[in-house]
Point group: C2
């Protein structure tokens, strides 16, 4: 028998969830539909809705409900529905309560100013123009870290916001192991690469046909954009959700390279499948949510790379793609496409990087964030450190700031806690994919036939339907039967790219 306080807690959580989902719609509309004139008013609307959500989550009444439920919670199995609900609600409440409202407001102002400064610095192609704003952002990140509390590194509580239960030391050890393997792998490949593996991709591709083809692919892997979702265009692809039954993805189109639109769609559809698969029995509560940013990224990377960049996928999809683009793709084999979409090459821009070098870009940011936050590197020296690390990890130095330290929007709004999720996601994807493969035989053969349901169903049960009940490392342990480590990911990369490049 659930106590009255539990019923009340659910009521409050539903209200907060509705406000978050409403804010998500305000954002989605801003990025897909809104006329430019609407920006100022939209900013006010977003601020109001977010402030109301925050004030409800941090209200003394909410805290009292949680207090009243302590005894009930400890009388229950910790992984059961009710105990999980109270525990996760308490986590949200505690974190939100620790950061003073004034700091939240200053961070919002700093993010707006930081975005302006970043745009101006990009126009001038000069990091120095951005530096003062970045120094303010770093200072605020430190203050937020102090407010949340930490013992070892100010990066710890920032990571914990995105990835509950994960800390800097865990990432550091995982990333160091990965980097030691990836740097030589990337070099060995570079020595063997002819440099024109992806020539097939550089042809004219009609934008409308690209979109139609991409939609066929995301429908094939199970994303429902008829009844329970949408696909739209935006400057930067993203996924958002207003309920498991209304999940929206976006993409962009490069008329001279179909893979931009195509893999953006597969990537976002991976995020979208996660959202569509969240446990609807917990709809409008903290449990009907992803486990973490990293787990979310594991799902997008799974469908984009592990599936969408596999030979089996192209055995299935090339005849379909050739129906949209007979002139451009009709004469090629699945093996040709497989090689083209898996070209490895050291490059300057993270978001355009291949599977092997991508994580080196991520680690570079992670390293720099740690050093700056731990006061071992000054923001004034950040550009030099960036270029030095690019040389060390990737063997190339950006010719200018646009292709270097100014490339990512992230640091204009926050510093620390965002980047590790990209690599954690890859590592998680590999371990999940390997585990799924052990339980569902012949996944590759199924892909060749256009049959993705076995993998989709496995992810739905082991990952999506778990919602936010478990912290990410626990979720992965339960789903795969062992703790998260780099082994599966390194096996995957070595096998795939070893075979592709003979290294």
């Amino acid at each position: 028998m659930q106590p009255e306080a539990y019923r009340k807690l659910l009521e409050r959580l539903s209200e907060i969830a509705d406000l978050h989902r409403t804010a998500a719609l305000l954002l989605w509309d801003r990025l897909t539909c809104m006329p430019p004139g609407g920006a100022a008013a939209r900013g006010e609307q977003l601020a109001t809705v977010r402030r109301l959500a925050h004030s409800r989550l941090t209200s003394p009444e909410f805290g009292e409900l949680l207090e009243a439920l302590r005894e009930y919670e400890s009388s229950l199995p910790p992984d059961g529905d009710e105990a999980s609900m109270v525990r996760v609600a308490r986590r949200h409440h505690d974190k939100a309560t620790r950061i003073p409202a004034e700091l939240v407001a200053e961070r919002a102002r700093a993010a707006a100013a930081g975005h302006e400064a970043w745009l101006k610095a990009r126009e001038a192609n000069r990091f120095e123009v951005f530096r003062p704003a970045l120094e303010r952002t770093v200072r605020l990140s430190r203050e937020i870290a102090s407010a949340l509390g930490y013992t070892l590194s100010p990066l710890d509580p920032l990571i914990d916001l995105a990835e509950p239960g994960v800390d800097t030391a865990f990432c550091r050890s995982l990333f160091d192991e990965l980097r030691k393997a990836l740097v030589p792998l990337a070099r060995a490949i570079a020595a063997k690469s002819p440099g024109d593996e992806d020539a097939i991709l550089r042809q004219p591709f009609d934008p409308d046909l690209q979109l139609a083809m991409g939609k066929e692919a995301v429908a094939a892997i199970g994303f429902d954009f008829q009844r329970r979702g949408r696909v739209d265009l935006s400057v930067h692809p993203f996924t958002t959700s207003f309920s498991p039954d209304d999940t929206r993805i976006t993409t962009r189109i490069d008329p001279h390279d179909f893979t931009n639109c195509f893999y953006s769609l597969l990537h976002e559809a991976g995020h979208g499948l996660y959202e569509q698969g969240l446990p609807r029995q917990f709809d409008r509560t903290v449990l009907c949510a992803s486990a973490s940013a990293g787990v979310h990224e594991s799902q997008s990377r799974l469908w984009e790379n592990f599936v969408g960049r596999s030979l089996a996928f192209w055995r299935f999809f090339l005849p379909r793609a050739a129906r949209y683009f007979p002139e451009q793709l009709g004469a090629w084999t699945p093996e040709d496409l497989y090689r083209a979409v898996n070209r490895v090459t050291p490059s300057f821009i993270r978001t355009e990087a291949d599977e092997v070098t991508y994580n080196l870009h991520v680690m570079l940011r992670f390293d720099l964030e740690q050093e700056v936050l731990e006061d071992r590197l000054a923001v004034a020296d950040l550009k030099e450190a960036w270029n030095h690390k690019m040389q060390e990890y990737l063997g190339v130095v950006p010719p200018d700031d646009l292709r270097g330290i100014l490339q990512d929007i992230h640091w204009s709004g926050s510093f620390g806690g965002d980047f590790q999720g990209y690599t954690l996601g890859n590592v998680m994807a590999a371990q999940l994919y390997e585990a799924a493969g052990a339980e569902c035989p012949d996944l590759g053969a199924a892909f060749t036939r256009g049959h993705f349901q076995d993998l989709g169903e496995w992810m739905r049960q082991r990952v999506h339907a778990q919602g936010a009940r478990f912290e990410p490392l626990e979720l992965i342990r339960r789903a795969t039967g062992r703790p998260l480590d780099a082994a599966a990911y390194l096996r995957y990369l070595r096998e795939k790219f070893g075979q592709l490049y003979g290294v």
Copy 2:
């Protein structure tokens, strides 16, 4: 020097305005973009956002602010900014406070059930299926009227919600005068009508071209849908706004009659121009709003009919239309189009009615609402009364309930206070248009040249920029120099249709 309480009032009003605008986006998205699966969650989001807006408007703190401002208010000129702000905020607060929250909630439930019942009744084409839901709606309308308070008719406070300062007696006298003129005018026209005046319109018209042509027309009359608005498709055309700088209109397309899309766009663009012209110095307050539903309708009808169905308009626009549809429209003259889009014929469906008979449909609903709410007619007898009045006003009797009492969605959610605005809008439009014409000479000649700015600017200054500062009748008196009456509208109709039909 504004007192602190005034500053606080503005702060509260901004928050409430943001919530209303957010609710408007939740609705716009539901009607234009949302996948069907999203409906249930969207209902919850709307309910939450509306409940928060309502609880803020009716909070004791809000009432105390208004009390604290009484002295300040009475020390100021009543039509000044601050006094108007306090007065209009008080009106909103008082009305919202008088209706108990439980009644608001029951009405929301009844509207949802009523909509279902209405759809089922339409499927069965039987009013009896809808009757129990309608009886509940009528009962709730009476309770709301009682909560708001009235002396003469329960319809009075319901009209006042939509049209502050207007009552049943005013509408009754205006409508009776109109009806006495319109019934014989419609009959005289029917006797002269050849019945095929609009044959030109019944041709195939490509949907994409229809939309492009309609956009050219709404751009010509001044609706900004590039920087400060949008045009989308929806089942029922509507206008919504999230700020004067983000105002959105929708239309629908009949591939066999271009006027459906075309005049829907002109109508909604009229609403849109009002929203884009609201006083931005009062943005996010109760003064940055229309004066009433009737005044809003005056702007839509102005551009749809007084301008868009004028001969001068077609002298300007036919060459443009013929570029989109050379085969369908290339051989006709502006006079042919003018006649075609102004065919008068008694019909069953209000929303498809011409300028002469339209108001008779509206009056029929108004009469029945008054009789039912004043307990002179039972809901059980409503269908018979409807058909009887159709015969009396229009000379036709609906062959079934779908084309009769079940045609309008309105009564599925509320009963009383909605319909009068449609005819008030026409009457206001005529008086405004006549006054504008007296001050801006040669409007017709300007239209022929595609020059609509003089009329637009006049409306912007006299109507749009006034916001909600004045009650509708006062606004019209100030804008036109005399009280609202039927004279201008009857002059307009008699002259236009007398000339068109020789009556």
